[in-house]
């Protein structure tokens, strides 16, 4: 089954940040197919909506984090995942790198950074 190239799933547990990301995404003419605050929600939405891109925070509500969610999505859906994290801890970075991320962005992110990353991935 194919993925929707114009769909983006946003995974973050902070409203203001998801709203910011939504503005960036929509400014680029893409569609936000869902906003998830937990890993389980993220996997469920990805399976249901089959987005080509996922913007993934690492720290989430619940026991499982963004890396866990990303692994599941990679396995069941195959979406490309851009990690957006506030953390630079080596352990976290190592886990992210194991998951073949499409990009890793650090907070604070500026719209230019995100736009550049999305453009690059869509062009691949």
């Amino acid at each position: 089954m194919t993925l929707h190239r114009d769909r983006v799933l946003i995974v973050d547990d902070e409203f203001i940040i998801t709203e910011t990301l939504r503005i960036y995404v929509e400014d680029m003419g893409l569609q936000v197919c869902g906003i998830a605050g937990t890993a389980d929600e993220a996997v469920a939405l990805a399976v249901a909506e089959r987005p080509y891109l996922v913007l993934m925070d690492v720290r989430l509500f619940g026991e499982r984090d963004g890396v866990d969610a990303s692994i599941a999505i990679h396995e069941h859906v195959g979406s490309r995942v851009i990690f957006i994290t506030g953390s630079r801890e080596p352990a976290t970075m190592q886990r992210i790198q194991c998951d073949h991320p499409a990009a890793v962005l650090f907070k604070p992110i500026a719209d230019g950074q995100l736009k550049a990353a999305i453009t690059r991935i869509l062009a691949e």
Partner: protein, 513 residues
């Protein structure tokens, strides 16, 4: 005729003087001659008898007795001849002569066969020679004896010396054994019975030396150490190990345990090779052991403390990272709210103002991002920070305007980086905004240390060369922030002449403690 008559007057004849006609001269001659002869004859045998009596060892002494007998008899006949001058006692005279005759004949008869024997008797000269020889031999023997005696004396002296040396060695050994500061024990290898201990060893265990004699050495070893100690001792006894050296616990009289270091060797009989004596030196190392144990405890405590401190430091690092993370997240939220707000505004000035605000917020967030990635969570290199900042400032601007950063290596902390980041944000934003109406040009940000503990920040453009604020308007927020921050940093800032606009700020170098 009676015997008396026969003896004294046998014939009735006249005395002998009558025959001499009583001639006084003649009578006197006879009397004197006979008297002298008789006296002489009585004297000679007396001398001989005396001599013989004094030399009882004389060989053939009986010959001398015979001489004494016949001479006395001769003397008696002469003496009786004087009497017969006046008395006709011829019977007695005859008897005396007969006796004299018998003795004389006997002597004469016995003397002849004796001659060779007497001749064989050594002469005085012979005796003298013999005597000399004897003296020489005696002298030789005496010398030999003296030599033997001297040897004997020497031997005895040597033996005395050896005895003295032995006694001295024994005394020395005793002294070194008894008076040694370390404990010394001698035991029987077969059953470990104690034969001898010194005071130091007994004192160590709270006993008197004599109380330990005959006790089994293993009774004094702590029960927990006993098996291992016996095994080690057995190895030495069987020659599998060269020496028995162990640190072990002894049981004192009061039942307390004390640590000792024992070194034992086994003495073997030279002839049979059998073990005959175990000699042990025991050192009291209880205090050392206590001190060592205390040291080990102290080290453990120190290690625990270090581990605690390390954990506390790790915890602190974790907390710091968490704080930076949250600060960044909150700044991201502020940024998000500013973005959301700007979307609701129609006034382009207001939108621009919020845009400028978002850049300032981003600069603050970037400082915390750098701090999170630094090893000590306190300092980072200013170069990477300024490069990230420039990239963000440039984003969304004109394609042909470039922003170049040239920063010397410099470690900065939060207190320095925050105002510096804001300063660069304001000056570069200003340049990007006003210097290039044509949309082409370059903004250069340089940061270099000086020799006098300062850093010089330059933000220069090659644009149209118009200072930001026209004189008729009130100063912009950007410039107010710039001047305020430079003042806060105890620095100076001034525009300098060039192709475009160039701001140069001279700031005290960051003090990293």
């Amino acid at each position: 005729m009676t015997l008396t008559d026969w003896l004294f007057n046998p014939t009735g004849l006249t005395p002998h003087g009558f025959c001499l006609s009583w001639a006084p001269g003649l009578i006197a001659l006879h009397v004197i001659s006979d008297a002298v002869i008789a006296l002489s004859y009585f004297s000679i045998p007396l001398a001989i008898a005396s001599f013989v009596r004094k030399r009882p060892d004389l060989e053939y002494g009986w010959v001398a007795q015979l001489f004494v007998g016949f001479i006395v008899a001769c003397g008696a006949t002469h003496a009786w001849s004087i009497l017969t001058l006046w008395s006709p006692a011829y019977g007695v005279e005859g008897i005396l002569k007969a006796v004299t005759a018998i003795l004389s004949v006997a002597t004469a008869v016995l003397l002849w066969p004796l001659i060779p024997k007497l001749a064989a008797l050594p002469s005085a000269a012979q005796l003298q020679a013999d005597n000399c020889e004897l003296d020489r031999r005696v002298a030789e023997r005496t010398m030999a004896l003296e030599e033997a005696n001297a040897r004997l004396v020497e031997t005895m002296r040597a033996r005395d010396e050896a005895d003295a040396a032995l006694a001295s060695a024994e005394a020395q050994f005793r002294a070194s054994f008894e008076a040694a500061a370390v404990g010394k024990v001698q035991t029987d290898p077969s059953d470990a019975r104690i034969i001898r201990v010194n005071k130091a060893f007994a004192d160590m265990l709270g006993y008197r030396p004599e109380e330990l004699i005959g006790r089994c050495g293993w009774e004094l070893t702590a029960a927990d150490d006993l098996d291992a100690d016996r095994e080690a001792y057995q190895e030495v006894l069987e020659g599998r190990a060269p020496a028995y050296v162990r640190e072990k616990r002894y049981v004192t009289r009061s039942g307390a345990l004390i640590w000792g270091r024992v070194s034992a060797t086994i003495v073997h009989a030279p002839a049979t090779g059998q073990p005959v004596l175990t000699v042990a030196v025991v050192e009291d190392i209880d205090e050392q052991h206590i001190a060592r144990a205390a040291l080990v405890r102290a080290k453990q405590e120190l290690e625990e403390l270090v581990a605690q401190r390390t954990a506390a430091l790790a915890q602190r690092d974790l907390l710091l990272r968490e704080v930076y993370h949250r600060v960044k997240n909150n700044l991201q939220i502020v940024d998000g709210m500013l973005l959301m707000q700007s979307r609701k505004l129609d006034d382009p000035d207001a939108v621009a103002a919020l845009g400028a605000m978002r850049k300032r917020v981003f600069a603050l967030g970037l400082v915390h991002h750098q701090l999170m990635g630094s090893a000590d969570l306190r300092t980072f290199d200013v170069g990477a920070f300024l490069a990230d900042l420039a990239q963000q400032l440039q984003a969304g601007g004109a394609q042909d305007v470039t922003l170049v950063v040239d920063a010397a290596p410099l470690q900065v902390d939060l207190d320095f980086a925050v105002p510096l980041g804001l300063l660069v944000t304001e000056l570069a934003t200003n340049a990007l905004k006003h210097a290039f109406p044509t949309g082409r040009g370059q903004v250069t940000v340089t940061l270099a240390p000086t020799d006098d503990d300062h850093v010089v920040l330059r933000v220069a453009d090659n644009g149209v060369g118009i200072l930001a604020t026209p004189p008729e308007r009130k100063p912009s927020l950007g410039l107010t922030i710039v001047h305020g921050l430079v003042q806060q940093m105890r620095g100076r800032i001034a525009p300098i002449e060039g192709d475009g606009v160039c701001w140069e700020a001279r700031l005290p170098a960051p003090r990293i403690t």
